[in-house]
Symmetry: C2
Subunit: 192 residues, 2 copies
């Protein structure tokens, strides 16, 4: 696979999450790793980019985030929707070989041991800013970006541009009951 | 205008925000009111529905939220993109007649004095759950839903269904630099 991934500056990484697409969240601790979808992810700050992510305490991934202090967010393209669904409907609490059975291909960025799923339009790694009250009361985690990358065919330094040729990388937006929407066309107001 | 708005149950209101669309946020205090776009809005909890919303301290709307303890979120359709842009590029700090000059039409739900903008696909009102640390440190507000409604032509009790006939209500997703995307087509994985 040709490597289309290019770095995104830490001050632009929040732009990856402006569109409100469904993400995959991953984490690892001492070679134990997991990946799950997370729809409730949102930018929080610009410089450096921060996000909020709601990660329920029942998820295996949450323990790995708490132990390691890091998590990654990825924005899956529609081409891997079946993998996203598997990763969201199978828990590593029940299936220890979840990742091997997901059908996903994984890779790692240099210097980070967090698994990344091939077929995503963008990737970002966050260091948890400890906020015990938010985590315990709301399952709400705050992360500060320490690394970000995007597939230059659809996104350059946080600025998106989709076309028909790279339709498999078009973002997914989770609705309910296993149904998603894809992102549509660009549109601009008369006065910008 | 025929009234297509139907109530959404408080336990389903979070579904309105799953898709990650750009919202309008409004608030009022003693007849002073304002409306602005807010992209950094996200579901936080299910029953009853809660959301997070990042509202910078420079915005006029923020003071109204802090004084009243309530805010509304609306999901504007692409048909009012020019109004959304005006409401986001004009501050009531500079233009006291912002709302009158916006070109928007407004209405109110019975029992609430918060202005609502015509042309949105869904509406929800939230009571602020006071979290001083989050508000001061991150400009992050948490709200619990006290009322929600959607346009039944595109959304029934939190379940979305867009068609060509009601294209003007298709949701907007803010990217950067005044550019938006519209929501595209529905897509489902092989196994739900």
């Amino acid at each position: 696979m040709k490597n289309y991934l290019q770095p995104v500056s830490l001050d632009h990484a929040y732009l990856l999450f402006n569109l409100g697409a469904t993400s995959l969240v991953s984490a690892s601790h001492q070679a134990d790793e997991d990946v799950m979808p997370a729809t409730w992810v949102c930018p929080l700050d610009l410089k450096p980019s921060k996000v909020t992510a709601v990660i329920d305490r029942t998820h295996y991934t949450r323990g790995l985030i708490e132990k390691s202090g890091y998590f990654a967010l990825m924005l899956p393209g529609k081409g891997i929707i079946d993998q996203v669904m598997y990763l969201g409907t199978t828990s590593k609490n029940d299936e220890i070989n979840k990742l091997e059975k997901s059908g996903s291909e994984f890779f790692y960025f240099p210097g980070f041991d967090i698994p990344m799923v091939c077929g995503c339009a963008a990737y970002a790694i966050f260091k948890v800013i400890p906020e015990e009250h938010n985590e315990k009361t709301y399952d709400l985690f705050i992360g500060e970006c320490v690394g970000a990358w995007s597939d230059c065919r659809v996104c350059r330094n946080g600025h998106w541009s989709f076309d028909q040729e790279n339709d498999s990388l078009r973002l997914l937006h989770y609705s309910a009951g296993g149904h998603f929407y894809t992102l549509g066309d660009s549109i601009s107001p008369k006065k910008i």
